[in-house]
Symmetry: C2
Subunit: 229 residues, 2 copies
DNA sequence: TTGACTCTCAAACAAACGTTTCATACAGTT
DNA sequence: AACTGTATGAAACGTTTGTTTGAGAGTCAA
């Protein structure tokens, strides 16, 4: 039997992406991929050289999708004041990563890649994360009226990104909270929450007003407990 | 040759904890653990039943250490006003997770567990994460003058926790930023940053002041971009 | 000394793994 | 019809995997 010229190849990619995302590179076997896809075991080696070649192909596909998300989130706020840029970015980003079933496998794959560093994590950093961080740093710097490489900016960007990622569904979050609700309105509310929280946090860094009502005096009293183990 | 009564067992645990944390359950072989520990291959099966038994033992050790961190972070702020409680919690927590070389393997193991859900992730959720979330929820609810199960509280707690975790060193963060500096002063500054950022964010949820200058009008204009792919 | 018990060791086991092989089937070209 | 290049199939390959085995070394008590 012959399936067609590229049918097998795409079937394998589709199945493998889902399986790699949910269980990782090592735990998924070539046999399982091929059985699920309904193709022969040799298909992977024929079309992709070997198992790692298949994984790399999927990783590149994920990177491309993430780049598109970056671009869309950037365009959504183009020409607006910085706080609106941030709001637009968070909104698009959260919609895609938290809500979209279409992109959920990417987040799983990435969280695994961070822990496993199986293959080229550098590709993800250079083509996705660094540009994204740079864009957000520009926004934050504008709000704070300071340079993009200011220590406060770098930290604030990390905080904003971490908050967006904190709400992507995973085995832990689904166990901690009943359900976050995937309806567009709920996601909008979530995005607005993150934006409001972050904007207030960023602005607090301007004067350090909320930072320390009792700036230094407390420190010595709690210090002893930290080292305890 | 005989090493001693419990020497082998502890050597295996020590080596395996490090290896599992850095490369995951499936990728680490029993042979490698035993070779590194300088013991026989059969030692794992003799002392722990099988490979999974060894892994579970290590996981329980990690859970116990995390519970201690929770406790220490809670005690550090006992009897203080809520914002000081939060500050104390973040300070202890960040010191242990971000700076301490002693606890770094735990974070690696957990981030892997979230992605892999190899074994009892429920144990971690029930005994560590849920109590921690509940404690933080109490603090936030006190600041916001509302119930602990308010939607804003749940979200704010998630945001605070995500910010703390965002600064634990991992392959991505070390590639994005040159170095966060592990000196106690730098960690103190980081903890203070997170606290200031979070407190401002939480307080912004009281009135929704910073939340939406242009509450709803913008939504329709950006909506089209979200779905784009 | 004897016996029971705990622990370690080298060797081997069966299963699962990624990969290779080779025959064969199809489509397009000459 | 004959040839060529591409794709698929069933079977097998050599390795690595977690685990088991059985002999033996060490310790303690009687």
């Amino acid at each position: 039997m012959k399936k067609g010229d590229r049918v097998t190849r795409e079937r394998v990619v589709s199945v493998a992406a889902r399986l790699f995302a949910s269980r990782g590179f090592k735990k998924v076997t070539v046999r399982e991929i091929c059985r699920t896809a309904g193709v022969n075991v040799a298909a992977v080696n024929y079309h992709f050289g070997n198992k790692l070649g298949l994984y790399r192909g999927i990783l590149e596909k994920a990177v491309e999708a993430m780049r598109e998300t970056n671009e869309a989130a950037r365009l959504a706020g183009e020409g607006r004041p910085p706080d609106q840029k941030l709001r637009a970015f968070v909104r698009v980003y959260v919609h895609r990563t938290v809500a979209s079933r279409q992109h959920s496998w990417i987040q799983s794959l990435m969280s695994r890649e961070i822990a496993d560093r199986t293959a080229a994590i550098d590709l993800v950093v250079e083509r996705v994360l660094r540009p994204r961080a740079a864009y957000l740093a520009g926004i934050v710097a504008e709000i704070l009226h300071c340079a993009s490489d200011d220590e406060r900016v770098v930290r604030a960007v990390t905080c904003v990104q971490s908050q967006c990622l904190a709400f992507v569904p995973n085995p832990v979050s689904s166990r901690l909270h009943p359900d976050l609700g995937g309806t567009p309105d709920a996601v909008d509310a979530l995005a607005e929450h993150i934006t409001a929280f972050s904007l207030a946090g960023i602005r607090a860094l301007r004067t350090g007003r909320a930072a320390a009502r009792r700036p230094r005096a407390r420190r010595r009293r709690t210090q002893g407990r930290v080292a305890g183990r």
